[in-house]
Symmetry: C2
Subunit: 438 residues, 2 copies
């Protein structure tokens, strides 16, 4: 154990900005501070940035895991004032301007919490144990292994009810993640099952989508919701709206609409909550465990602690619940906070954050997506092309862009993919990755 | 649990060929039997084929893991007489023509053991515990995590001797795998360390290669050995020849030339042994735990049990120790055995296996490789291009070819790569992948 403060290159000469979290917000902030008179220290528990919007494609085996992970050091190779450390933050200590981490105690002059969100099981421990979340690459690979192992198991089981449970997939949550995941499962059922799993029929495989609200993609336009429902229904996804999961014990899923589904695959995309480190008083945390901030993303009651992205909520009369927990908000907050920290150092007035909503896209599968761009709503092939273009352009690294683009083109024409590898064998009893079985 | 025999599509009508192992030999055999009047059942404990020659590039983070794994079902999508099951074989029961597996008891008419080889620690349990093998994708990813985690640790440790141990890499074994791995580590030291790990110098990082014989690449020509040694020395790899590791306790590696190296990274490429299932009598197993066979790869003493590839040795006066354990031997044996099984079924005479050695290639890094093609020996840039071409052409799937080619081209010009992700966090205490820390 050591104290990073003892390693300051220029102790005292430049303020140190410590950023916790290398997601969209943390990266945007670090880039925005490139020429500011500060030393940046970015901490993350992974050594890579995860491009979360494509996690579902890793889960379903369409693209490789490495394509949506980008080593953080590599992004900042040419940034002089940037350092990275692989670390887990245990506690913030605002009184001493320090954070306690597994690599030691680290001093900050400005602290930015950009730790994002994690899956929300709403306190149900049983569901948390048996359902599969998908918020990071290891979890997406766990889903991939579960799906593929259960199909393998379905081929060799002689118990027809167990076979049916192994081939029944329930996605909980009808937001973009749930819609995209259930669309991809429907596509796998339609295009791949009979081709690669001789002995399994697509009529044996069922995909359900359970959503609590009365329409899918509730944050988008009614037109987008209707089109998503239509596209999924065409893929034979069974949709339950205004329905809430009550329990899941690894075998039976019960829903408050009276249905019980026998399934071995429950994929949980029903909600997220802010994942803030310990050490701040309870009163700064609001709805969805998000840290409440003022208009420059400063945490209430502190001068030099900020929070951006999913973990935070800018509370103003216009945004009583903060902004939506999406990548563009995090990126814009990171960029704006970079400017504001530079202004604070120079003693200039800060500028309030204003979210510029450029629109929302969600894809349902091959040739099918929905788009809301301001007052423009459209669906289908052009929305799907736009979705692909926007996501490719947003990817952090040139080589990842190229590899994902090629994978997509090849998969599109092949109607198949080559990435259905069970690399992290998944133990269905412990519900954990099982490395002992390698 | 079930009995696969009860699921025969045409019980009794066509003989069933059961192949254990989806490596180079098993795949070549299954392909060769495509039009034979048999039902093929291929079993493997992974659901994918591993292109082992490029494992070291996965370990070093040059290419993505999924690129060198190919789902076995996907390879045989269009083969009518082919089935695959994910299964671990526990025992062969030759008396009843059955194998016992974790998915049930499986009957065979012809059994082919193509289980390959595994790392040989020569009985040293301590080394087996602390050194890192590299025979499959999960193991290559463990090495990747170890290397990257130790570099992260080196950045934050204040104990200078520990820092040195974290940055000292010892590769044991100077065959193709060891030469390629140490060459890649030297390249990482030279091209990537200072660029991405601000605070670490290449002069802090050391790469050793320990080989028992008096020259590297002992199976190749003296010219190839000399060039490999020269190339590695240029990359500042410290080479010990005629040297054997005596012990490694996780901190200190002792060698019988009197040296002791303090290191946290020992990569073991010093030998392999055949990995046959239980159930055959001890007398069929020879040197290196390989199953001894006759000239048509039939196991001595059996009419319908065969062994091909690394796990086997065709024992003849010309080949008293069998053929080398390399992919071309396994592929040619698989192809030949396919023809011979078809001949056996038709009652035609079988044809003995003759190995056609097309040459050997090994790469040492950027622009550097060595080649022995018959009497032709050459080294350097052209050998390196040839190495790349041959390996690309051998890759099983079109999309993998494209993705690896693009990765190589981008890495070549970037002098860097984007795949240094710690996806399988590695626990240096337990020396196992540590999923609990995700």
């Amino acid at each position: 154990m050591f104290t990073v403060t003892s390693e300051d290159k220029n102790p005292g000469s430049r303020p140190r900005v410590v950023i916790i979290g290398g997601g969209f917000g943390g990266l945007a902030l670090a880039k925005s501070l490139k020429n500011a008179p500060v030393d940046i220290l970015l901490l993350d528990k992974h050594n890579y940035h995860t491009f979360q919007p494509l996690l579902y494609q890793v889960a379903i085996g369409s693209i490789e895991a490495d394509s949506i992970g980008f080593p953080i050091r590599r992004i900042f190779t040419k940034h002089e004032n940037f350092s990275f450390n692989l670390a887990e933050v245990q506690k913030i200590n605002p009184e001493t301007n320090c954070i306690i981490t597994d690599i030691g105690t680290i001093h900050y002059d400005y602290l930015v919490i950009a730790t994002g969100s994690n899956t929300n099981f709403f306190g149900n421990k049983e569901i948390e144990h048996f359902a599969m979340p998908m918020k990071n690459i290891p979890e997406a690979l766990n889903i991939r292994s579960l799906v593929l192992q259960n199909l393998e198991q379905a081929l060799v089981t002689t118990d027809m009810r167990e076979k049916s449970a192994l081939m029944t997939f329930v996605v909980v949550g009808g937001g973009p993640t749930g819609v995209e995941l259930s669309g991809a499962l429907a596509e796998m059922r339609h295009l791949i099952l009979a081709k690669d799993y001789h002995g399994l029929s697509k009529y044996d495989m069922r995909v359900y989508l359970v959503e609590g609200k009365d329409r899918l993609l509730a944050a988008m336009s009614p037109q987008a919701s209707a089109a998503a429902k239509k596209f999924l229904a065409e893929g034979e996804v069974m949709i339950f709206n205004s329905a809430h999961v009550q329990s899941y014990d690894g075998f039976f899923l019960t829903i408050d609409n009276g249905k019980t589904i026998k399934t071995r695959n429950v994929l949980w995309a029903a909600g997220v909550k802010g994942e803030a480190p310990d050490g701040l008083p309870a009163e700064v945390t609001g709805k969805g465990s998000r840290i409440q901030t003022d208009e420059i993303n400063r945490v209430k009651g502190y001068q030099n602690i900020f929070a951006i992205g999913d973990v935070s909520a800018v509370i103003t009369p216009d945004t009583p619940n903060g902004h939506p927990g999406v990548a563009p908000v995090a990126i814009q907050q990171g960029q704006q906070l970079g400017k504001n920290i530079a202004r604070l150092i120079k003693g200039e007035p800060t500028l309030p954050f204003r979210y510029k909503d450029k629109g929302t896209l969600a894809t349902i599968g091959r040739n099918k997506a929905v788009a809301d761009l301001g007052k423009l709503h459209f669906q289908g092939f052009f929305a799907w092309l736009l979705w692909g273009f926007v996501h490719l352009m947003s990817l952090a690294g040139f080589s990842n862009k190229g590899i994902i683009f090629i994978s997509w083109v090849i998969n599109y024409f092949n109607k198949n993919s080559d990435n259905r590898l069970i690399i992290r064998s998944f133990n269905t009893d412990t519900r954990r990755s099982n490395e002992a079985h390698k």
